[in-house]
Amino acid sequence: MTQFEELQQAIIDGKAPVSKALTEKMLKEGIRPGEFFPKAIIPAMDEVGRRMRECEFFIPEVLIAARAARASSDILRPLLVGDEAISSAGTVVCGTVKGDLHDIGKNIVAMMLESAGFKIVDLGVDVSAEKVVDAVRQHQANLVAMSALLTTTMVNMKSVVEALAAAGLRDKVKIMVGGAPVTDAWAHSIGADGYGKDAPAAVELARQLSAA
């Protein structure tokens, strides 16, 4: 097994101390920080996404794997310079809409997007449309990802779309939505750009929207 495969395995198994130690060791041996993402972290989280989709992994395993990925990427990010900086994947402003406090799903999506190379600006829960607009401006984000778990709060996704339009930012960002009561038809009806039915789908969607 190569060291990259070892690191992948540590992330999939959710062993944060192992992934941290391996990352440090590999850096010492002269491996460039930029190599870790395409060769270990991104494929590992893609595998986690696949297992999640096939019901093999559930929320606890996914969260633990994401934490192991973060243990590695936290070391790497400050070291990335120039071409290796991974801002190319895009910057995502994410959060749970106003009136809603559910954040487990949103956290999983945020961590998986981060592992896929996106820069994440996580606004947390009960996030107002104004806060999203401010964050998009401040961080020059190209993606907005909103979550809602209640039928009574998902209407606030519409406010986000409208606020971004009112602020003249609508053509600067793509908007994606998700959460238990959300559907493709709903995303369409409020003028969002896409709906991710689960975390792996959200990562796939973010890649597509970023490339578009």
Binding site: G14, E56, F58, L63, I64, G99, D126, T152, P181, T183
Partner: protein, 531 residues
Amino acid sequence: MPEKNTRRIVLRPLQTELIAPAGSALRDLLFAQGVEFPCGGQGRCRGCRVRVLEGQASVNEAQRERLSAEEISQGWRLACQCALEDDLVIELRQWDAAILVDETPFAFEPRPGLGVAVDLGTTTLVTQLLDLRTGHVLAVRTALNSQARFGADIMSRVQFAVPKAGAQQLRDLIRQQIGSLIEQLVFAAQVPEGEITDVVVVGNTVMHHLFCGLDVEPLSRYPFESEHLGLQTFRSGDLGWKLSGHTRVRFLPCLGGFVGSDILAGILATRLSEREGLNGLVDLGTNGEIVIGNRQRLLCASTAAGPAFEGARISMGMRASTGAISEVKVEDHSIHCRVLGNVPPQGLCGSGLVDAVAAGLELGRIQPSGRFTDGAGAWELAAPVVLTQSDIRELQLAKGAIAAGIRTLLDRFGASAGDLKKLYLAGAFGNYINRVSAQRIGLISFPAEKVEAAGNTALLGAKLALFCPEGEDGSFARLRQQTEHVALNADQDFQDTFVEEMAFPNMRARAWELDAGETPEPNTPSLEPRI
């Protein structure tokens, strides 16, 4: 086929035959037959699916999203999305279910007159007529809450009621329904309706607000707190009920958040507020509510955990009624299923689901992570009923929320599961669940003998309130002061605990704890605990 303006629909296995105008919504026809619409008939879940055996029912986009191509070709449809365009023979996935009433003897001080106790649940309604002189129950009537066609869970009910017209519709529906149940009680007991002096209604905060005509908008969003939790008193004339117009009707006060007077009644029934040691009450209904405390202080909380225990969102889930697998036992390394009504199995109810997963864990078919050991997608319990991987996931979410809620409240007392003297399980599910299985899956993390099925404590508490001493109006000021509502959603530790509690307890650790005769530690998943 000749054109005609009506269509015929036959419902199997009931063999009920209905004639209705062509184009009628199946939702309205079936609701009248007791079929439930978990998402409020918006095509967002699979709860109302029916199988078309004869005739044509068209498939729209919403159905293609929720049903597989194979299911559609087998005739499965979402009833809420279909209109009666053709003569149909359909098979119902849902069945009439038994509703838990209460026959517990209780102490009371005799009063003149008759009284009615009403347990207004999100899903079911139970009413009892009592002779206040003797405490005898003269008649009982139960029904499914007629608001349920506008959403099975409280949040979809709230969503429907945020626009004023929706709130009025739900208010009128439930007032009429309870009024007519009381008429039936009077008729059944053959008593003069003028003798009814008192009616006590209990229910969760949403039911309270909808019945009383209060604005539910504050319950639709964070922080989910309404200012109008107090006792509401009406005269029966105000409600349009055919009683002497002066009959006093009281909807008992709520405790906070979604925790309503059904739980206040539960505290009265289990005397939680009078006990020296730490005791708990868990009501697993459509919503899950938890109370922990003693005579000094009580903490209460609610979680949206109930549906899985009632068979909702479970692939072959159904309520505890004819055809449901209600028990699964392991004997000689194989499983044995008990089916309600002694008919071929048709689905899995809450107690069967808990048993099945407990059996899977015991047999090593299911790992503590919840994954099927052989990587299969489903496990056949008794043909054609299967338990799927995603059913286990739904159960993990539901039991994780309840277990984490109990732990979070215990934490606030600086206590652990071992400090709890007794846990009362209220509601129908509490009556039927196998306590050892509940422990096996980690729904409860203390010995089974500490758990007591308490029956319909909401109804018992409502009956006790009918005998309120003179001067006590039913506002229960002291009890409310003693009880604090904990908003679990806003508690960051709760989120972490919830994720931890999603895993199943490790079998070996559990066996050791039981052998040693010690109080088990809080559930330790095989995964690293803290996220």
